[in-house]
Amino acid sequence: MKQVTDERTRMQFSIRRPKLPSSETHPEESLYRRLDVSAWLNHLNELGQVEEEYRLRQAIFFGGIDVSIRGEVWPFLLCYYSHESTSEEREALRVQKRKEYEDIQQKRLSMTPEEHRAFWRTVQSTVDKDVVRTDRSNQFFRGKDNPNVESMRRILLNYAVYNPAIGYSQGMSDLVAPILAEVLDESDTFWCFVGLMQNTIFVSSPRDEDMERQLLYLRELLRLTQQRFHQHLVSLGEDGLQMLFCHRWLLLCFKREFPEAEALRIWEACWAHYQLAALCPVLGAGVCPEPWSSPCSLCLSFPPNFP
């Protein structure tokens, strides 16, 4: 028997092909530049309304949004602002929504001691632990007693009051943190987050059925595109097709699988709701746990027979 004393193994998945050959990308892939300030302003008329929503979504889907205007544009993608709204209407909305947000917070702060105990147990104790370990590598949330961490905490607690059926599930802090870091304003971020929780297909919900549906899609995709790997999962018995190794990909929309800049680019493309099917991840062959020394590969790309 070979000597394998104290061998340490860490399961590692990595992206094998960060750049795809042009034959595998969408034919329109290279036609769009990143949406920058001037391009963004071109999408707006003199009242500040988005002229052609479809064109904007298309531009964002292919080109992404320049970091400098994410805070401006994300609220549209997250259904906080409607595309028909004028600049003036949006300012009025923000004022009204800020008042609403304050009312929600007030409701939270005026719980009876008994209500508060229950809230602490089911929501607050976990939120308190999670906000200080969310996006710590981002300068925006770094350090002790960071006021931005406190904002994130209030948003999550207030959300649990606003939507007690969902309350707080681990993972929500990962979703709200990047929005806060771009949108900056606490009330605006809260309402963007409300939109995110309602509208995006990737987002976590505490009910089994949503996750089950996502897994069903993924299994079906695997069956169609990666038969060998699908067979392998089937051969593992009941637990193989649960695909525990990819639950986090679905829940956080690949946030922890990619460097932040790329993950947010994926988020934007999803939020653009343009040709959604195109974003279905196609898994490369050979996704299997391997020793650290030979990282195994996950290739995330568009389907070769792209519509």
Partner: protein, 213 residues
């Protein structure tokens, strides 16, 4: 490269959010403390081959979120586990209070015979202690658990916790209390031990079946 080991044990790390489950795993595998670690979402895995009582054992460790929502995850997570680290935080009474519920889950969803070691983690934060060693020892005794106070930060007792659990499982195999060939035992035989088991019985060459893990 195919690994060679006598046994493979499926281990779980369970306990409330923020007790240091992933940090214990990380300390055990990497021998260092994980600074600024994220909370776990879904399930993460780690493994390490150790030598216990002359046997080579691969520990396949499953680590999940303290707040787990999906029934499907829970079922697959617990199924067929041989051992578990049940973790609480000595500076948080709340995490100690939920131990009974975690233990019930482990014994009903994994196996009534799962070998559990109770870990009072964050031992290095003694000044902030809310749970005494004595009362946790009593809880462990009443529930037939092994018990250690650990520190994922300094590494104190981390290795011991995993090895102690592995040793107990091996003892159960040796005494016949645990049958590694039974499905759901949480134990798989490596090719080395299969050879041992089969050779005395028959002279014919048996192709060793690796565990495929």
């Amino acid at each position: 490269m195919a690994e060679t080991y006598d046994f493979l044990f499926k281990f779980l790390v369970i306990g409330s959010a923020g007790t240091g489950k992933s940090c214990l795993l990380h300390q055990f595998i990497e021998n260092k403390f994980k600074q600024d670690s994220n909370h776990t979402i879904g399930v993460e895995f780690g493994s390490r081959v150790v030598t216990v009582g002359g046997k080579t054992v691969k520990l396949q460790i499953w680590d999940t979120a303290g707040q787990e929502r999906f029934r499907s995850v829970t079922r697959s997570y617990y199924r067929g586990a041989a051992g578990a680290l049940l973790v609480y935080d000595i500076t948080s009474r709340e995490t100690y209070n939920s131990l009974a519920a975690w233990l019930t889950d482990a014994r009903t969803l994994a196996s009534p015979n799962i070998v559990v070691i109770l870990c009072g983690n964050k031992k290095d934060l003694d000044p902030e202690r809310e749970v005494t060693f004595l009362e946790a020892s009593r809880f462990a005794q009443e529930n037939e658990l092994m018990f250690l106070e650990t520190s994922a930060l300094t590494g104190e007792n981390v290795e011991e916790a995993f090895l102690k659990c592995a040793r107990t499982i091996l003892n159960k195999i040796d005494s016949g209390e645990l049958d590694p060939e039974r499905t759901g035992s949480g134990v798989q035989c490596g090719d080395a031990s299969l050879r041992q088991l089969r050779q005395p019985r028959s002279a014919q060459a048996v192709a060793p079946q690796p565990c495929g893990c």
